[in-house]
């Protein structure tokens, strides 16, 4: 006769959940490390085109963003549906070729960089694929005037079979 009797060993044994926090923390740290915070709210709809020759942008700190696209619904109420330009986080309201806005923007962004990297600034152009080139040419022209000459046409990687496809 054993001294200690099992209390009714009939019900399901409970699962030990003491390691659950460890697992969840592991996932948490993975996501914290692997992701980047969304810094700016993009107020224009941008679906970048696809291309095969894309390369990764190496140094994020050198990159400034220019978005061109049609405004999202709540912005469209204020500005209409015509394509708009957004510089990092603010919309451009300048008429015609936005020389001044881009000049100011370029100067401000260049000021943020360390001395050695000032001429390595990259302008990432995130442009919707359905925008007409007129707007894009205006921005490119303004960038030339602002002496921000390294640009990056943002594009998604397109995987194409060897040979050709239609």
């Amino acid at each position: 006769m054993s001294k200690f009797k099992r209390k009714k060993g009939k019900g399901l044994p409970t699962i030990n959940t003491s390691s659950l926090p460890d697992i969840v923390f592991m996932l948490l740290f993975f996501f914290m490390v692997a992701t980047t915070m969304r810094e700016t709210e993009v107020q224009v709809k941008v679906k970048v085109p696809e291309a095969t020759e894309v390369k990764k942008l190496e140094k994020k700190s050198l990159v400034s963003y220019i978005y061109i696209g049609r405004p999202v619904a709540h912005v469209a109420k204020l500005y209409g549906t015509e394509p708009l330009i957004q510089l990092n986080d603010k919309l451009v309201s300048e008429e015609g070729i936005p020389y001044e806005s881009i000049q100011d923007f370029t100067l401000a962004e260049r000021e943020k960089l360390p001395e050695a990297d000032k001429n390595k600034m990259v302008m990432s152009l995130r442009i919707d694929e359905n925008i007409t080139m007129g707007k894009v040419d205006d921005v490119k022209q303004a960038l030339r005037h602002a002496k921000a000459l390294i640009i990056n046409y943002s594009a998604r990687k397109e995987y194409r079979e060897q040979g050709r496809q239609r």
Partner: protein, 210 residues
């Protein structure tokens, strides 16, 4: 009289961690930035005279995207997928045709002893194209189509560079490590042989309004 500290209940730890996890899942984006990097031409100085540069007609290939997104290459309509082959032919001129660019004998130095196909001093001798591609578009051209054309042109040059790099250095051009001075020199050498000669004209309207 040491009083034992009461044990902290760890049961809600998982809940807190889950909350944080979900917060990070929602607020973060996984996107890595990819794209095609190009260099814009600087605005010429005001005091610089506008000299008409005389360019031999055979050295220029005009790639034109009109306002209905039709592609014209060298005066003839062309499918986008034929553009890459056309560009490669234009930049290499394999049969030394009279209507394709002049090939100029050039010497390009590479790091000595970096390839068995080069002489010991590492100087490559060969022909380098003088061709320039002139890319033109209308204000009404769609950006997506424009970038596809840019992509084909860049793809052609990248392919030529990669072939050369594989043949001489048994390595992909994209795998060259620019932090390594020898490989950096190889890269700049290859860039001299196959130049990214794509010129974009000043914006203009090609027929029609806007």
């Amino acid at each position: 009289m040491a009083r034992s500290t009461p044990e902290v209940n760890g049961g809600s730890l998982a809940d807190i961690a889950f909350l944080l996890l979900i917060f990070f899942l929602v607020t973060t984006t996984m996107d890595t930035d990819t794209g095609i990097t190009r260099l814009l031409p600087p605005i010429p100085d005001a005091d610089q005279e506008n000299v008409e540069v005389k360019v031999n007609k055979r050295n220029v290939l005009v790639v034109l995207l009109n306002r209905s997104d039709k592609l014209m290459v060298g005066g003839a309509e062309m499918d986008r997928l034929d553009l890459k082959d056309k560009t490669i032919e234009f930049f290499t001129n394999p049969q030394h045709r009279e209507d394709l660019p002049v090939m100029e004998d050039t010497e390009v130095p590479f790091p000595p002893g970096s390839s068995s196909l080069l002489p010991p001093n590492g100087i490559w001798r060969g022909e380098v194209s003088k061709g320039v591609i002139s890319l033109q578009n209308d204000r009404s051209t769609t950006y997506g189509k424009y970038l596809q054309v840019q992509n084909e042109l860049v793809a052609a040059v990248n392919l030529l560079r990669n072939d050369f790099c594989k043949l001489y250095f048994d390595k992909d051009y994209a795998d060259l490590n620019t932090a390594n001075p020898i490989e950096e020199e190889i890269q700049s050498g290859i860039r001299k042989i196959y130049k990214m000669n794509i010129s974009e004209s000043e914006p203009k309207n090609i027929g029609g309004r806007n």
